[in-house]
């Protein structure tokens, strides 16, 4: 499984654990986890791109293509103050909604 550059600050284990408490097959659980992972990925990209200028967006996307996490972070930290907090906030907001959905099924 590939690890994203943000994986160390955007944890999804709490949602996965909650999904394990619900009655469903493994296949169904994996489907939901994949939806969550993909949503998280896009939410974080949106959060980052929203902070960058058009020119910096292009640089960021290029950096992203190299999958060089160190270079990505170096660039992001030079351009966005508190980028880690912003990514964490975006991830937490999504997770909050997912948790509420899970609670709603009970």
């Amino acid at each position: 499984m590939n690890k994203h550059f943000y994986s160390h600050i955007a944890h999804t284990e709490s949602v996965v654990v909650k999904l394990h408490d619900l009655q469903m097959s493994e296949h169904e659980r994996l489907h939901l986890i994949s939806l969550m992972d993909s949503s998280l990925h896009h939410v974080i990209l949106d959060a980052i791109l929203s902070e960058l200028t058009a020119a910096d967006k292009q640089i960021f996307l290029k950096e992203l293509a190299t999958d060089d996490h160190e270079a990505i972070w170096k660039f992001l930290r030079s351009k966005i103050t508190g980028i880690e907090d912003k990514i964490q906030y975006a991830a937490e907001e999504l997770k909050k909604e997912l948790h509420e959905d899970i609670e709603g099924t009970k």
Binding site: M1, S25, H41, H42, L94, D101, G104
Partner: protein, 299 residues
Amino acid sequence: MVRFKNIPTQKKSPYHSLKNKWVKRHSLIKEQLLTTHRDSLDWLVSNLPAKHHLAAGSLSGLLLLAPQISSPLPVVSTPAKEQVLEVPKKVFLITELSSILPQEVGPLDPGVEKKIAGVLSDELGFGVSAEMQNKRLNTSYGYIGAEQHLTRYPGDTMSTHFQTNNEQLRFEKSGMAPGRGAWGYFAYSQAEMTQRDIDREKYYIAVQTFMSDGYSQRVREYVEFFKFRKMLVVNPQNGKAMIVVIGDAGPAVWTGKHLGGSPEVMGYLERFDGRQRGPVLYFFIDDPEDKIPLGPIEL
């Protein structure tokens, strides 16, 4: 942030309840990203070269795709706005697949395999699975190599093989395989050949049926199962997909390839042989009434 609270939910199973909400949210989040950063994504699609050999993961699959995805866009009488939207939709699928797929090509972890089957099933609206009737191939993620045309009926040659000049120009050079495919001829004669027979040969893959668990113990049963079995083949790096049949057995394990594709399949998927070889995903499809047509399918 896309908020999606207070969605009314009927008392369904937890999975169905969550799936409905999460699929909608997922679409909205992608749409928001697309709408807000369309210029950057368009730039990305049109500016990054395909020759980059990037690690699978994050947006790398998307970048690899960039120059290739412009071609499948509808050109005639399609409003420009729709064309712009078309690119990222496929791009998102590719990012999704590249974030799931491992870097090593070969048998997938069962969890990963199920995730991919789920993604593809959602996109296509019908069941896609690595296992059917308790049978599975040796892998669902493998390197594909080029096969030749197969003889469809006794006497079929390169001069009788193509329906149009364009097909002949594009695919004649691949030549005809010596001998017949694993299942014999597709039709008894030219006169008896149907469009289904033509399509089966045109859109065939060869898979390593003989490497399936249980094959050597129940050869007849396995051959009956695999013969012209419909499958979905996807190039995960450009999102191009085809419905095909298993039309032959092979290639040999020593080739380092996991499956083969007819000239038409290879051409559409933009996969090449030799040093330029690349991986594809291939899964069984749930089509008990044989309603899903063979050939290219949009993801």
